[in-house]
């Protein structure tokens, strides 16, 4: 395995822990390599979207898929670049089963100079019986020269 991928594995787990929203959902990266990224989020009653059925909110699946797609982009690159989601399309095939953890498996199938393209599925037991499928595009080197803390200023460049 390349040094970069080895480093990215560490970065990925720090990303999950150091990203407040990922940490709030309990996201963890199970694997990260040239075949993509596999992440999971544990079932949590606080994240129920339909109180009648106990099914987890679609938003949790959305956030997990976004995070998994982003990490798959990092795994497909040769060096670290700041990335940002351009668009994310999600098909919800069926409700997740109440009580089950959610997994997301993402694969970045094309990286160009400025854009990376990713496919992903979210599932609760079997990747071949997905809860949702996603297709996303990411912009590479998206920081546009913005420095850390740029967004915290009263008026950021738009």
């Amino acid at each position: 395995m390349s040094d970069y991928l080895e480093m990215m594995k560490g970065v990925a787990s720090r990303m999950n822990e150091g990203t407040p929203h990922a940490a709030a959902l309990g996201m963890k990266t199970l694997s990260l390599d040239r075949d993509g990224a596999v992440l999971f989020a544990p079932y949590n009653e606080k994240l129920i979207g339909d109180p009648e059925t106990g099914v987890i909110a679609g938003g949790v699946v959305t956030a997990l898929l976004d995070q998994a797609c982003g990490q798959a982009v990092h795994a497909a690159m040769e060096e670290f670049k700041v990335i940002a989601t351009l668009d994310l399309r999600i098909d919800y095939m069926r409700p997740a089963e109440p009580g089950k953890d959610i997994y997301a498996k993402a694969f970045c199938y094309k990286v160009t100079r400025s854009v990376a393209f990713v496919r992903a599925v979210a599932y609760d037991a079997d990747p071949d019986d997905p809860v949702a499928a996603a297709q996303a595009a990411f912009m590479l080197n998206s920081s546009g020269g913005r420095r850390p803390g740029a967004n915290a200023k009263t008026r950021a460049a738009t």
């Binding site: 150091g18 990203t19 407040p20 929203h21 990922a22 709030a24 009653e45 606080k46 994240l47 129920i48 979207g49 339909d50 109180p51 009648e52 987890i56 909110a57 679609g58 938003g59 949790v60 959305t62 956030a63 997990l64 898929l65 976004d66 995070q67 940002a84 989601t85 351009l86 668009d87 994310l88 399309r89 999600i90 098909d91 919800y92 409700p95 913005r146 850390p148 803390g149 740029a150 967004n151 915290a152 950021a156 738009t158």
Partner: protein
């Protein structure tokens, strides 16, 4: 607060995930604005800092669902079929607002567009288009 606003607010209060995000709504007549106050637990990029893209998607999804309750009245919570989310600007650590426009409601499917913004309505930070499976109140039973 109007009865309608109370009904929708009560529906949101029963959804744990809406509480987790901190989402609430305001109604001016039948025009609804969804409001997501900034919170540390919403951050996806702690360096800038920026709100998680998944949070913005989820927020707009919930806005569409709430708008369907407001406009159509639903026997059951609508189900999301698909969404397409466009990210236009990074979500800064500010309150985010969203409004939904129902483009079409058929007997089973609704098409909804949502736009989210922060300090300037004319500079949206994200947009969503989605299809939802609906169960209008009239069809109940």
């Amino acid at each position: 607060m109007s009865d309608l606003a109370e009904t929708v607010q009560a529906t949101l209060a029963r959804i744990p995930y809406a509480q987790f995000l901190g989402l609430r709504i305001e109604l001016a007549g039948d025009e609804m604005t969804a409001i997501l106050p900034f919170g540390q637990h919403l951050v996806g990029n702690p360096v800038l800092p920026a709100i998680h893209g998944g949070v913005l998607g989820a927020f707009m999804e919930m806005t569409a669902l709430a708008q369907l309750l407001v406009t159509e009245g639903q026997a059951r919570q609508p189900r999301v079929i698909d969404v397409s989310i466009e990210y236009l600007r990074s979500g800064r650590p500010l309150t985010t607002y969203a409004r939904a426009e129902i483009k079409k409601v058929g007997r089973r499917i609704a098409n909804v567009h949502v736009e989210a913004w922060q300090d300037r309505r004319s500079a949206p930070i994200a947009a969503l288009r989605g299809h939802f499976l609906v169960t209008p109140t009239a069809d109940e039973g």
